[in-house]
Symmetry: C2
Subunit: 210 residues, 2 copies
Amino acid sequence: MAPRVSEDYKNRKRLELLRAAKQVFMEKGYTRTTMQDILDEAGVSRGALYAYFDNIEHVYRELLRHEDEKELHFFDPDDTRTAWRQLRNWIQKQQQEIEAIEHSLLLANSEFFLSTHAQPENESRRYLTARYQRITDAIVDFIEKGTARQEFQPRLPAESIALYLVSFIDGLMLDTFHLGMEKTNVHAQIDALLFSLKEMLCPADEAKSL
Amino acid sequence: MAPRVSEDYKNRKRLELLRAAKQVFMEKGYTRTTMQDILDEAGVSRGALYAYFDNIEHVYRELLRHEDEKELHFFDPDDTRTAWRQLRNWIQKQQQEIEAIEHSLLLANSEFFLSTHAQPENESRRYLTARYQRITDAIVDFIEKGTARQEFQPRLPAESIALYLVSFIDGLMLDTFHLGMEKTNVHAQIDALLFSLKEMLCPADEAKSL
DNA sequence: TTGAAAAACGACACTATTGTCGTTTATAAT
DNA sequence: ATTATAAACGACAATAGTGTCGTTTTTCAA
């Protein structure tokens, strides 16, 4: 027999639960958030929430997936701008995210990443590994395409540059989160990053000196 | 009347408790470790442990303090080596720590840092802030001394370079912890870091190209 | 030795959270 | 309207950890 409510209804409900979850996770991070918090925020019962998600790890995993889908296409080819400009643009977006760090999922994300480390082989771990691979691959690809078009003349392997870039951003986010933007001086650090990348990539459309 | 046991006795007991705590924190991280775990590992009773520490946050804070004391003097002046060599040395030490990451306090540290973010003004937060300041100040100082001795000719402010260096190391540690050394390719990233620092600092005793 | 005081013990009351499950309510096909 | 079925509810048992405190043990000065 046909289901009693439409797929669409269930989908909307699911999204509403994820919205509530996101709200709570932004405020409290991952570790301190409970299922109770989420169901309170969503205004549903325990049973309703558990009908959609097995446990809190499951909720967070699905939220992350949902958020990632929005983000995905930043390194797609874009012929209206030079590669270097596009890269600077991405970095600027990261900077903005860092500067709005208190209203982001960064705390929750970090805690979630760390929490997965306990469990050996796990849906969440697999997803996070694939996620890292996805972003670094996209950057490598981007650098290689830029190189083929002679927009970059990299002085290090593309992979090294990509991994390096990601590590730095991750570190800056984390430190800024702990210590606040004043102490970490985000602006100065972004300058240093751009300086480094320029030396590594030798973009055609920039004078060599800062 | 004189205390029933010597200061020395209490001190040794305290250190033994911290040793046990370190063991557990290395295995389980901060979040999942309980007072029970620590008192089991130390082979003492609940009451004994609580006589020395108020709660788990207190235990961790004291452990961190104790560990930091060992580390403190890496950027002290050292006339037997060039400044650039000394810096490379420090980076090499960080690399070794990253490569032994499963047997370190990194997971626990990260979780502890994140956990403090909830509490507004707090002994642990103060300590962590001072700790960051201490390391970045030491590096700034080191760069400025090297510059005064004409061993460096920095092309960016010393503070930017110092903060940048710390962010990168923090990010690399974290990512490597999540994903393992193979995925993050620590060696390649350290190369990229050295490349960047060379461009930023222009050390006198190095050929300009890698 | 002895005994006062500190150290160590561990049972316990309390709190927080989880996931389940029997019950009630809402939905839509007939 | 009726009714089969799924969705939503929320009380509850189970689990796990915390910090306290009355009791026991150990230590060492006298």
